[in-house]
Symmetry: C2
Subunit: 189 residues, 2 copies
DNA sequence: GTCTATAGTGCGATAGAC
DNA sequence: GTCTATCGCACTATAGAC
């Protein structure tokens, strides 16, 4: 038992989500979030490099997981197949229980271009990491980067679909369907 | 002859590029850029919504052009083919003479994640616009979005390749090769 | 934890162009 | 008279330096 309540980061993240939903991202100051959990603004910025980052907690872990899943995927004939099997494994990061939280977060992101920018950068970083893994596995360029980027595109669209109000299938299943669709779209040209 | 030199925006853009190359993006203040062309900091922010935006001049026009090129593409059997022919047309925005400027700009972007975020958002906006155009042309979902996103991925990778020091082919030619590679990567799965 | 520079906004005033 | 570009000032929040 220390001098502070434990879990400063996660308490800040929760408070931030609430406040952003209530009053909007721009209308909420970092100091306000910190105050709500009894911390100082200075402490907020020690936990998060900038205000946006409070909405991206756990994203480094997800990123590592996603890249590791591709690295550990069984040897396959096609690089995109390798990416697909990695993505399927990483889908466990988003079980049904996470849908509600993800939808709230998505609503906030949808209203703020600066947050969308950050989300895109995170995705781009994952794509870049997957590309590197594929090259390590002997896939030449530009196939490695194309497979990585296409895989992330499939993931993004599947994820958005997963969040839709009328959607109930698990993420991995939507991913599979989306990969099939990609095959059809590209084959048709 | 007015009270002011004409072309405030473009003079600010040029000065910004110089200063960013000399001292870096973070080390250059908006006031400094404005001062160099005889304007005030306040005026800088009336031309550009934020500091990053000074590096994205003409991007709205490029965006419109890209989307219009897809909208005006001849009727084709496949949505990705339509996107490809649109992209080929829009490649004229980047003639050989623009390579030098583009490389300078790319070097600045490469050193700053915040600028990469903005670049990704601009690309995402174009993809979204192309997706809408495809839906207007009768392409169902998720094929429309997949074709749009895949097309933008091809454009991005082709553009990066176009900027490589050892690369001399025109952008349109690299795009074509990249579309072929995408076909191979996806077909192989 | 305090102190400070920079980013970015709001508003009023001014100077020309049409 | 109206429209547009500019300046100047006051102000807040972010973010980094000390």
């Amino acid at each position: 038992m220390g001098r502070w309540e434990p879990g400063g980061s996660s308490r800040l993240r929760e408070a931030a989500l609430e406040l952003f939903l209530e009053q909007g991202f721009d209308e909420t100051t970092a100091g306000e979030i910190a105050q709500r959990v009894g911390l100082s603004e200075r402490t907020f910025f020690r936990h998060f490099g900038d205000k946006k980052e409070v909405l991206f907690g756990g994203s480094e872990e997800f990123q590592r997981e996603m890249i590791a899943a591709v690295a550990d995927a069984p040897v396959g004939p096609s690089p995109l197949g390798v990416v697909a099997s990695g993505l399927a494994k990483a889908a466990r990061f988003f079980p049904d229980e996470a849908r509600d939280y993800s939808r709230k977060r998505w609503r906030i992101l949808g209203e703020n271009p600066a947050l969308q920018e950050r989300e895109l950068l995170k995705m781009a970083a994952i794509a870049s990491g997957i590309g590197a893994v594929l090259r390590d596995r002997g896939v030449p360029e530009p196939a490695a980067t194309l497979a990585a980027e296409s895989g992330i595109t499939v993931f993004r669209l599947a994820f958005e679909r997963w969040l839709a109000p009328d959607e109930h299938r698990p993420l991995a299943e939507i991913e599979r369907a989306m990969f099939v669709e990609l095959g059809a779209v590209v084959a048709g040209s």
